[in-house]
Symmetry: C2
Subunit: 439 residues, 2 copies
């Protein structure tokens, strides 16, 4: 058997501690699979004394992740610090510059600097591996980069953020508000103290930009993603979705179109009977639609220390076995520039919930504006206002919810029609717009 | 870029022709991912003149697959002949003996000779790759061997035979008999002229034996699998399953138990709301339950030329990139002997359909025998016989269906109780027994 692979782990939080524990627990079988022993030789963490449930007495501690990366006693650096700049970036760059392979779970870093880091890794002939960055324990990076290497991908989409899926699952099941479910998610450790990054869709966008690069052979461009989060979703929308046979999920979608690659992150109504609608709680799911394989779906834990560590260790074993693939599937110089496609005609149509002043002519005004935009309506649903909301005189025009379901149309047409409806003074609040996927 | 990889494809049927077409269609991107061009240099097929939708004019044709394997103009052999002996085995052995990597989709060959072939490949330091053998286009081999390398697997189970899943899906949806659906499957090309291999569970067993070896690090032992097919499933069973909140699927299950590895293939009632119950038609699905990742599910096409070729090409790209892993995840000498565990206590309980002579005392007799076997009954369902079946005298004892649902118990207890009920002369036909999985 070959020399052991000496790991330096920067960041011993939940994931890092799990990596250490799994190596201790399953080390013998891992060594048999990797063809060599894998040793946790060095680490860098704020708190050295914390009990992480594993013997770290033989680990060389560093205060500085860059010093860890440069330590000649370290063969491979595992970056679990997080963040797109600062210590994480410095650590990864130092390791690659020193000709050491890097394993990272850092999607923010990759979304921002992935291409430059891939170039650096290539120059030094070492691996830059990041299975854990995109869907936690779900091996979607390996699936796109290796298992589907023969395919031309048409579309990749999925539920990539466990926090959002947990919140939407609970909102629907219990009829609770977004704020209530977010508070619960924070209490349970599923959401950060500042949840913006998760709930506004940015985390999903970072992950999507990585999957887009792997799927379509293009350079990462997370700026080219339309991003909309779940914080404005109301329990009423989830109830209406149910009534209409849908369920709301925050999806990341990347699709090859005639004009380029369309990338978008937004709440989406999916048919309640679809496989993706069954994915509840913190679970992630990714579907890849490609020319040879057809449709492949992977479902599993999108977060959590042990599940994420499972992906980190898969990368470490690849490194130990000497399997260096170009980070994004092909040499960085071969990745095409991402042609940003505008959000195209949306075949599934739109769910639009308006808060309409209950006055004579309101409905006609709305229908006229939609017709002027060439938007065909499949249905208009107006539930009777609760009696307390009704103005018996019929003059004040208390706002009542009106839901429109459109047939296929474009984002631009929808935006323009809604702007006109707003300008006409027909609605009391900004409209709620949710795209529908019907297949 | 390196020298091209020259492929010799033995067998140009549906899958082989798809491999050739995909290489022609997506060759440039595949070369970028593999780091070298991949060329279809040689082939062996019964019919050279058939139009396969791809230019084969520069292919060196061989009559004998062994000669193809030994052709010095071939670097890597792709075996798509099929069958556990004969030409397929000779071709694979000749290629490995000549120090050439082999890619195969042949589960029968692997189930029977996989360990010996893995040893031979190891001796010669070449790859024996078989992603396409276990679930068509679903990359479960790579998932088990690489993506879950850090995990200790507890259980792997799934729908591994598209023919059976198609038949069960149609039987349930349309209330048709097994024979009617089989005939349709044959007409549509989903089932062979001799369907025994598929419908009696042997194909699933071959695939399961491969997954078991990869999942648990044990030597293949397809003899150690309990196998039961779907040919005895009646529309009534599917209707009863629906009434009880279940759906019937042919599952292959391998599980680590205290006494060894339990492997079984049999029709199973799964909750209708479970993810696996949603898998309809020829689609395959595999769930892996492991210590670090938790539960990971892969869903995709289990058969079909293009989907299977997608898996074949993934293996070819691994070979081209020089990534040789031991065939079953670790060196053949490290694979443990499979300790065959007896079918254990079945926590989900059993569905038992008896054809009971409708005589006084029958029900009491059955209940007594179950109680003597310490088998607790959750429910007894006896639908009123249709009037035409009823003997108005009550003497002849026309058989009527009676369904028992048990709580957790053992196979042995069930078998013994049913033998006694049979000996008591209470039933007209052999009982139908279907295991239930509740979680």
């Amino acid at each position: 058997m070959n020399q052991p692979l000496r790991l330096g782990v920067a960041g011993l939080g939940t994931v890092g501690a799990s990596v250490a524990r799994i190596l201790a627990r399953n080390g013998e079988a891992i060594a048999a699979k990797a063809g060599r022993e894998i040793v946790l030789a060095g680490a860098c963490a704020r708190d050295r004394s914390r009990d992480r449930g594993v013997d770290l007495s033989r680990v060389a501690w560093h205060d500085d992740p860059v010093a860890l990366a440069r330590d000649p006693g370290i063969d491979c650096v595992v970056e679990l610090i997080g963040g797109e700049e600062g210590a994480a970036r410095a650590c990864v760059e130092a390791a690659l510059a020193a000709g050491k392979p890097v394993v990272t779970a850092n999607k923010a870093l990759l979304a921002r600097h992935g291409l430059a880091l891939a170039r650096l890794a290539e120059e030094r002939g070492v691996a830059l591996a990041f299975e854990a960055s995109s869907a936690g324990g779900v091996p979607v990076v390996k699936a796109l980069r290796e298992a589907l290497a023969g395919n031309r991908v048409r579309r990749v989409y999925g539920i990539l953020n466990g926090t959002c899926n947990y919140i939407l699952s609970r909102m629907e099941a219990e009829g609770l508000s977004f704020a209530e479910c977010l508070a619960d998610a924070q209490r349970l450790g599923y959401a950060e103290a500042d949840p913006t990054f998760d709930v506004e869709g940015f985390d999903t966008a970072h992950k999507l930009s990585i999957l887009t690069s792997l799927a379509f052979g293009v350079a990462l461009d997370s700026e080219a993603i339309y991003v909309e989060g779940i914080s404005k979703i109301a329990p009423l929308d989830l109830a209406m979705a149910k009534e209409l046979g849908y369920r709301v999920k925050l999806l990341g979608v990347a699709e090859r179109t005639k004009t380029g690659i369309e990338q978008r992150v937004h709440p989406t109504m999916v048919p309640r009977t679809s496989a993706i609608a069954q994915v509840m709680g913190v679970t992630n799911a990714v579907t890849i639609d490609a020319d040879a394989v057809g449709e492949l779906t992977l479902i599993g834990p999108g977060a959590g220390g042990e599940a994420t560590a499972s992906a980190v260790i898969a990368d470490i074993v690849d490194v130990a076995a000497g399997h260096v693939r170009p980070a994004f599937g092909m040499p960085a110089g071969r990745l095409e520039r991402l042609e940003r496609a505008p959000m195209q005609r949306h075949e599934g149509g739109y769910y639009i919930r308006l808060s309409v002043f209950d006055r004579p002519g309101s409905a006609a005004g709305i229908a006229t504006r939609m017709a002027q935009g060439d938007i065909s309506l499949e249905s208009i649903i107006q539930h009777r206002a609760r009696s307390a909301d009704v103005d018996p005189t019929g003059r004040s025009g208390t706002p009542v919810p009106v839901v429109l379901i459109t047939y296929a149309t474009t984002e631009a047409a929808i935006r323009e029609a809604l702007a006109r409806i707003h300008a006409d003074g027909l609605v009391a609040e900004p409209p709620q717009v949710i795209r529908i996927e019907r297949d």
